[in-house]
């Protein structure tokens, strides 16, 4: 499922980063398959998310979180 629908403070595993204009930057920041990701906060208008990946907080707009596919970490 897209990261957009992930619950706050639950751990997810990235399965794929879909082709988009942001893919290069996402991969450089460590949004690679099998990385663990957690949603920390959602912007008041629900247009952006604050996620934690590799111990770093990154703000992503909804159009970007749509392109990151995740599954719940077992």
């Amino acid at each position: 499922m897209p990261l957009t629908y992930a619950k706050i403070n639950a751990d997810y595993v990235i399965t794929k980063v879909k082709e988009s204009s942001a893919i290069r930057r996402l991969l450089d920041l460590g949004f690679t398959p099998n990385s663990i990701i957690r949603v920390r906060s959602v912007e008041p208008k629900l247009e952006a998310m604050l996620v934690e990946i590799r111990g770093v907080l990154v703000a992503l707009r909804k159009s970007v979180t749509d392109s990151i596919l995740v599954e719940v970490k077992n």
Binding site: S21, I23, R24, N34, P44, E47, A48, A59
Partner: protein, 704 residues
Amino acid sequence: MNRTFALVGNPNVGKTSVFNRLTHSSERVGNWHGVTVDKVAKVTKHNSEIEIVDLPGIYSLTAYSMEETVSRDEILSKGYDLIIYICEANNLARNLYLALQLIELDVPFVIVVNMMDELFAKGMNIDAKLLSDRLKVPVTCLSAKNGFDADRLMIEVTEYAEQFTSNKLKLPYIQKLPIWQMREIISNTQNKSSDNELLYYFIKALEGDDYSLNKLSVSQNQRKSITALGNYKEQIAALRYEFIDKITEEVVVTENTKKFKFSTINNKLDKLLLNKYLALPIFLLIMSGIFGITFGLVGKYCTQILTIGKDYLIELLNGVLKGTALLPWMNSLLLYGIIDGACSVLVFLPQIVTLFFFLALLEDSGYISRVAFMTDGIFRKIGLSGRAVFTILTGLGCSASAVTTARGLEDDNTRKKAVMLTPFISCSARLPVYVAISAAFFVERSALIIFGLYLLGISILVLIAAIFQKTKLRSGDGPFIMEMPQYRFPTYERVAQIILSNAKNFVVKVGTVILCFNVIIWVLCNFSFTNGFVEIGEGLSIMEKISGIIAPIFKPLGFGSWKAVTALMSGLIAKEAVISTIVNLGGAQSVFFDQLSALCFMVFTLLYVPCVATIASTYREIGIKWTVFSIVMQLIVAYLTALAVRIVVLAFKNGIFYGLIALAFCIAVVVSFTMVLSIMTKNKRRVRCFSGCNNCNDIQNCCK
């Protein structure tokens, strides 16, 4: 022998802090992405002369914005004897990603792990020797904030630069890439790069990096063959991180598990400050508090005390000068042209210091990046991005430097808009104008009037940005990806640096530009073309003649006097000159007829063309065509807004009913204008490409 070293690293890892320590400089540092937007060089002496170059932050050698392109080009030019690669201790894995690309490129570099104090606070440490062993690169751990032995570091890196031949590390993941196939596909390359460099360009070409493909002069057919090898974009990044994860697992050591409170505090603060319902009210409360203290408490008392001191000084000097043999016009020039003019601006120093004190606290704590995140939704609606907050914040200080921070914005249109709209944010140079005029005309409500002017500037920015969204300057839903710094306790040193540099800039400007300009204005106001020295107000002086020609244009705004026009013209040199000119011409009470004309003048000053320094910066960023457009736009917007304020206030004076009608009329004009623009451009709209390329505007035909 002279050498050149470059400071490279991810954004917000403290490169400029290290640069300042190494070169004993005071370049601006900040707890947000994009503080350094161009390379800054300084020569320092450590045994021999060494030039240190501070480059803007970059995450990878695939550039994503203008500032990153500067860094990438500098690194790939290999014009440096050595790269000092700065890493953030808290975030070693992500920082080593670019380090691996430097190894792939085979450039001489050393790793400096900064912010070790924050890692220690978490009860963790980094085994520098082991990290150095794994990457075959010298590693030094330090905390630039707390100071370090710069001489020792420079000796070590210079020694390494002298002995460097090639990096000894053979990156294991390269074997998993189709490098031989790449060699076969691009065998006819005219590129004269070395074998190691070619290897780097092959890896980047596999990643689909346009710059590298162009560098290798890859034809369309060759591109297709490379694509046929498979999608290596994801795989290469994953392989690099897999290698990095193995290293960081070994070198990052947990020494004390009890010290994990720091991240908990961060989480709790984020929970409160980024709360869905509380985030914006908290932000507005903080900003109201800052403006209340700056313009109410400090503004009221400090400026009053300093003004009394200034008046006493002038009286004293007047007494002294009367006893000398100076001619009357010399007396007048010295007292009113020079001393009174300059001091009347200097008395506002306490407000400027207070404003920058609070802004420095916000900036250094990491809160401003959160504001960028929580306002992104609002800014996106008007075609800007949350990152525009950094430009706006810098604009509160100086418009000229603020327009350069727009380089970090995602796409060309957003950048152009940010550059053209930033001058609507009231810079600190305009502050003395508001304070002096509102103190003279709105004694009890001066703080409210000033706060209102700041809000008006932001509202106009939002309105014009929304209008731009209906034109060819439209920005789409581009990617917004921004790393969030940790909350940090603002350090005394950094806050003091921000305050001192702004206070120094202000005082130096008053002592140089404003002082010289005051003399020129005084001469123009007190001398005529034919009669020599004349009294102000006789209608004979040079300035009265020149400004008198322009003055009727401003009659509908209520300040169509030559004095007001002279003040506005002087504001083109520097906005502080507006108030010193008004003082030169006899004070606010003699320039404006009533409260309303004073208010309209402040509105016009807020919105009209910024100073020459900002115009020059705008020209550098967006070229002559858009600079001329922005100047014309700012003049029209200033005139129409001041006129609207006058009409609405006059209507309200005749009763609330008439006031509301006038207000509704003004809003209707703006809405109609926006709708007409929207209809006119409806069929011309294109879906813009946001791939970061400069050549295409259409996503369908994107050159990437």
